[in-house]
Amino acid sequence: MRPSPQASDTAVTPPAARPRTGDEHPPAPSVLPVPVVQLLGIGKRFGAVRACEDVSLRVQAGEIHGLLGENGAGKSTLMKILLGLVVPDTGRILLHGEPAVITDPSAAAAHGISMVHQHFSLVDRLSVWENVVLGDRGRVDRDRARTLVREVGARYGLEVDPDACVEDLSTGQRQRVEIVKCLRRDPGVLILDEPTSVLTLEESRELFTVLRRVVADEGRAVILISHKLDEIVHATDRVTIMRQGRVVARRATADTDVRSLAREMVGRELSKWTAASAVGALDALIEPGTGEPTGGTALLDVREPAAAPAPDPRPPAGEVRLRISDAHASTLDRRPLLRGLTLEVRAGEILGLAGVEGNGQAALGDLLSSLLPLGTGRVEVCGVPVATGRPGAMHAAGVGIVPEDRHVSGCVLDMSVAENLLLADLSSVTSRGLLSRRRMAARARQLIEEFEIATPSPDTPMRQLSGGNQQKVVLARELAAQPQVLVAAQPTRGLDIGAIEYMTERLHAAARSGIAVLLLSTELGEILTLSHRVAVIHRGAVVGEMDRADVDTERLGLLMGGQAA
C-alpha cells in the first residue's frame, strides 16, 4: 500500500483533506483499556535545569501517540527515562498497569520497549542482516537472519535486501533497517525520534503507512516524537504537547489543527515565517497568494492562507559572488563526497540548497570552511579562485560560515566568548604581536550588544552559553568580518523558537545588505521561507534549480529523492 504522490499528499495537504492511510483503524474508544505505557508525575532536573516536571503520559495499544514540543521541551529526556538511559528524580512508570523499574535499555527491551533513534546506530561496513542480528548471543545463523529480514520486511512493507551493505543504502533504506531491527524483537511499544528529518516527503509517507500497519494490524503502540506539526496532524491518533518540561495539553488529533497545536506548543501565536521554518507547517508556504509585507506578522492560519510567505521581492540579480564549478571530492578512503557539484550564488540573494541529509551538504560546508580539499573542480569568490583545503583560505577570501555543527569548526568551547568573537580576526586587536585586552573587550561588548547575545560577561567560557547564544556568537563573528559570502548550514537546528526567529531575520538582513547567502538545510520549510532561489542537492551534486516563485513541492520532493523531474 503505497499512496501515489498525487492521491494522498500526506505531508503537505491541509488537515481538512487528511487521508487516513489506515482507514480500517477505529478512533481510540472513549472507555480506555489499561494503557501499555503510563508515566506518572515524572520529574528530572539536571543541575538547575528542569528537564521534566510532573510529566504524565499514557499510551494505548493500537495508537500512534504523538509527542510534540520544541527543542528542549523535555521530549527526549522523557523517552530516555522510558528507555532506562536516565533515572528520573520523581515519578513512576507503569507498563500494562504494573509498576516497572527500567534501569537500562536492555531492561526496556525485555519489557518490549524499543526505539529508533534520530541518529542511526548501524555499522556501515556490515550487511543489512549482520546489522539486524548484531548484539545477539550464540551462533550466527546467516540463513535464518536473512529470512528474518525478508519476513519482517514483507509483513510491514519494509522491503530491504538483507545482503546489501549498509553504506550503499539511502538514508530512507537505512531507517528501514533500524525499524526492522526493532520490530523483529516484537516490541509492544515502538518509539521513533524525529524519524522524518532524514527522509524525503515520499519516504515519510511510506514510513507513516508502515507505522499505521504496525499499530492497526498488530495492536502495538507507537510513540512519535516530533516538532513538525504536519506530521503530528497527519500521522497520529492522539498527541501530548510539552513545553518547558511540562505537559501543556493532551488532545485527540482529530479534534485539533495545526494552528492550535502550534499555539499550545510555543505558548503564543507565531508569525507565518517562523511557523514554516520552525514547526514544518508547509501548507502556508505553498498556497499561492498575493504579496504581504516582508516579515509579515500575520498569524498562522492554515485554513485561509491569505498570503505567500513573501521573502523579499526578487532582488536585482547582483554579480556572482560564489561560484563552485564541477567540484569533486572524496574521503581519504576514496568514498565520493561531492560528484561534480556546480552552483552560483549572487550578491544580495539567498540560495536555499535543499536536500535529504547525507547528500553532500556536510562536505560542501567543509569545503567552504577550508576543511576539505577538492580532487578536481574549482571554487571562486568574487571571480578569484581560492585554494581549497588550505588553512584560512576561505575565510581570507571572504567566505563566512555558520557551520552545521558549531562545536566542530564554528567555535572553541573552552575559550571565552570574547575570544570566540575573534578566532581568525586578530589583526584588529593586535599590536606588535600582543593582543590588547582593552580592544578585545570593547569589540566583544559591541558585538554582544549588537547581536543580543545573552552572556554573563565577555570572559564567560563559550561552553556555558545556551545553544542559541553560541550560534549568535558564531554569526556575530562571521558577519563582523564583513564577508562577501555567508554560508549558513542548518542554522536553526536544535534551537528554540525565539532563536529560530532571530536567525531567520539576521539571514534576511545579511542578504539585504548585499551579502551572497547560501543556505543549506534539510528543512524544506526553512528553505522555502528564506530563499530567493532554491536548488536541490542529491548524492553530491546539484540536481535541480528553480526560482522561489516557481517552487513546486512535488517536484522538489522528487528531486530530493533523486528522481529526475
Binding site: G47, A48, S370, L434, A441, T455, L465
Partner: protein, 374 residues
C-alpha cells in the same frame, strides 16, 4: 566601553543562565583536602617501607629535610635541581597547549646536552661566548630531535606519543655511542690513565656562573634562565597572537584550521619548541652542575619535568613552585641515599611523594572527563 568592567553583566542579558559556576567552587574546596590526604598517605606508606627495611622513618625524614631545606646550601641544591625541571616543564606546557603530547623530553635533553658538550669542548673562543653558543646549541639539538617526531607525525601520521617515547631509547644509544667513541666525545687519553666512558671535563670558563659560596647559600644561573623563560612563555601563551593561535589549535584543531592556523606550522613549531626547552635543560645541567657527559646523565629529569607540567596543569607560572617542590624532593632524596639508605628505597620513597602530588591533578582530570561525558 571602559576596559575594567569585565565582570559587569552584559546589557543584553535577560535571564541569567543556570549558575554553572557553583560546582567548581565546591570542587576547589576539595582540592587542598585531596592533596593533604594524598600526601599523608604517601608519607605513611614511605615510613612503613623504611621501617620494613630496618631503618628509622624519622631519621629518613630528617635526612630528606637536611638535604633539601635545612640550610642555605641545601636550599641552593633544591633550586639547582629545580632549574632543568622547570625548563622541561615549560616545553611540555607549550606542546600540550597546542594539543600535542610530547613525552620524549628525556631523549631531547640528552641529545641537547651532547650537542652542547661538543660545542663547549671543541669551540675555541672566549668562555662567555662559547657558553652561550653551547646553550643555544643544546636547544637546537633538542629541537632537532623533536623534529624527527614532528616529521613522522605530519608526514606519515605516526603518533607523537609513540615516536617521542621510542626516540628516547635511540637517543640513549646514540649518546652512549658518542661518549664511548674516542673519535667523538670520549675523554682524551692521558698517558698512564685508563679512560672511562665519559667526556672530558668542560673548561671552567664555559661553566654557568654561580652566586654564593659553599657552605653558604649558593645557586647556579640556570634557575634565572628558567624563570625568565617561564615568565616569557606565560606572556606569550596568554597575551600574544601566537599564543592565541597555539591555544586555539590545541582546543579545536578544525576551528583553528578554518581560522587560518596551520597545524604543521604552529603544532610542529610547538613540538620543536618543547624539544628546544628540553635540550636547553640538558645544556643547563651540563654547564651548571655536571660539567661533563657520562652514563645516566639525564637521570629522569625529562620525565620528572613532564610530571611538573602535569601537576601544574599546563600553566607556566604554576610550574615554578611545583618545579621547586620536585627539586627539593630530588635534593633530599640524593642526601638520603648518602646517609646509607639503599638507593632503591630512596627511589621508591621519592616516587611515592611524586605520585601523591600527581594524584589530585589526575583525579580531577578523570572527574572532569566523566562529567563532561555524562
Amino acid at each position: 566601553m571602559t576596559p575594567t568592567l569585565i565582570s559587569e553583566p552584559a546589557p543584553a542579558l535577560a535571564v541569567p543562565p543556570a549558575d554553572p559556576r557553583r560546582r567548581p567552587r565546591v570542587a576547589d574546596l576539595g582540592t587542598p583536602l585531596l592533596y593533604a590526604a594524598s600526601l599523608s598517605t604517601a608519607l605513611v606508606l614511605a615510613g612503613l617501607l623504611i621501617a620494613l627495611v630496618g631503618l628509622s622513618p624519622w631519621d629518613a625524614a630528617r635526612a630528606m629535610y637536611d638535604g633539601s631545606l635545612a640550610d642555605g646550601a641545601a636550599i641552593g641544591q633544591s633550586i639547582d635541581q629545580a632549574a632543568p625541571l622547570l625548563l622541561v616543564a615549560i616545553g611540555s606546557v607549550i606542546a600540550a597547549r597546542a594539543g600535542i603530547f610530547n613525552i620524549g623530553q628525556e631523549g631531547q635533553l640528552l641529545v641537547g646536552a651532547s650537542v652542547g658538550a661538543a660545542i663547549a669542548l671543541f669551540t675555541p673562543g672566549p668562555g662567555a661566548l662559547v657558553l652561550i653558543l653551547a646553550l643555544l646549541g643544546a636547544a637546537v639539538g633538542g629541537a632537532l630531535w623533536a623534529a624527527i617526531a614532528a616529521v613522522l607525525f605530519y608526514w606519515r601520521g605516526v603518533a607523537v606519543v609513540i615516536s617521542t617515547l621510542l626516540l628516547i631509547f635511540v637517543a640513549n644509544q646514540a649518546v652512549s655511542y658518542a661518549v664511548n667513541s674516542p673519535s667523538l666525545l670520549r675523554e682524551k687519553a692521558v698517558a698512564g690513565q685508563v679512560t672511562t666512558s665519559q667526556t672530558d671535563m668542560l673548561a671552567e670558563s664555559v661553566w654557568l656562573p654561580r652566586i654564593g659560596e659553599y657552605p653558604d647559600f649558593n645557586i647556579g644561573a640556570g634557575i634565572f634562565i628558567a624563570l625568565a623563560l617561564a615568565a616569557g612563555t606565560s606572556v606569550v601563551l596568554v597575551r600574544s597572537r601566537l599564543g592565541f593561535r597555539i591555544r586555539m589549535l590545541g582546543l579545536n584543531p578544525k576551528a583553528a584550521h578554518r581560522a587560518g592556523v596551520g597545524a604543521v606550522l604552529i603544532g610542529g613549531g610547538a613540538l620543536l619548541a618543547s624539544g628546544a626547552f628540553a635540550g636547553l635543560a640538558g645544556g643547563v645541567m651540563l654547564t651548571g652542575s655536571g660539567h661533563r657527559m657520562q652514563d645516566g646523565f639525564a637521570d629522569n629529569v625529562g620525565f620528572d619535568g613532564l610530571l611538573v607540567a602535569l601537576v601544574a596543569r599546563d600553566k607556566p607560572m604554576l610550574a615554578v613552585p611545583v618545579a621547586l617542590f620536585f627539586g627539593a624532593l630530588r635534593a633530599g632524596g640524593g642526601f638520603l641515599s648518602a646517609t646509607g639508605v639503599p638507593r632503591y628505597i630512596v627511589a621508591v620513597v621519592t616516587a611515592l611523594l611524586v605520585l601523591a602530588t600527581v594524584f589530585p591533578a589526575a583525579y580531577a582530570e578523570v572527574r572532569r572527563r566523566r562529567t563532561a561525558g555524562a
